[in-house]
Amino acid sequence: MGSPYSTQSVETGYRFSEAALSSGHQIYRIFFYHDGVHCANSLSTPPQDEDNLPELWQQLTTQYHVDVVVCVASALKRGILDQKEAERFDKDHFNLTEPFELSGLGQLIDASAHSDRVITFAS
């Protein structure tokens, strides 16, 4: 839920997920809420000596086939759009990174019901 490059929580969440997946645990879904939606911004261009967090999330979750969902209500107001939403709101551009998907809070509730543990990395 924290903002990348502003709070450490995104990095901590990433390291935790990496450790969980590489030691054989399953992650049902990662849900990006509140400022966490900025993690899916494909336009992020950090300096070369810093982690590219959207890219790292993309690689990790693709490798382990983890579902990554961005809260659509949080994302729209914060300016994170996929192509479909951009068209709907008549914007010339969009910036959602693949394989992130925009969806509703129902995906968070569904994940909570289908997981043994739910862990929040907050700002």
Binding site: Q8, S9, T12, R15, F16, E18, A19, A20, S23, H25, D116, R117, V118, I119, T120, F121, A122, S123
Partner: protein, 100 residues
Amino acid sequence: MVLNIINKSPFSHSAFSECLAVLGDNDRVLLIEDGVYAAQADTEYAKTITALAGNNQFYILQADAQARGIADRINHDVQAVDYTQFVELTTVCNVVHSWY
């Protein structure tokens, strides 16, 4: 058994004190990010932790303590863990509660 995770400095935010006020018997507390400053030896927070350490177990994320230059002055009642042990802690406890 609840795993409480705290990521804020106890000197600046009330999260640490509030969490400790509602700990259950045998609950665990993991200090991460700026939360690790609560684990420094000899501060007022060290005393609070030591008083509770009979019933509760306290942990600190080692990477965060090292980053902040305090890994060598951690309260003896607090145990250092890496990310893999962090994952294990979340499986050992029944539920995880993040304070921020």
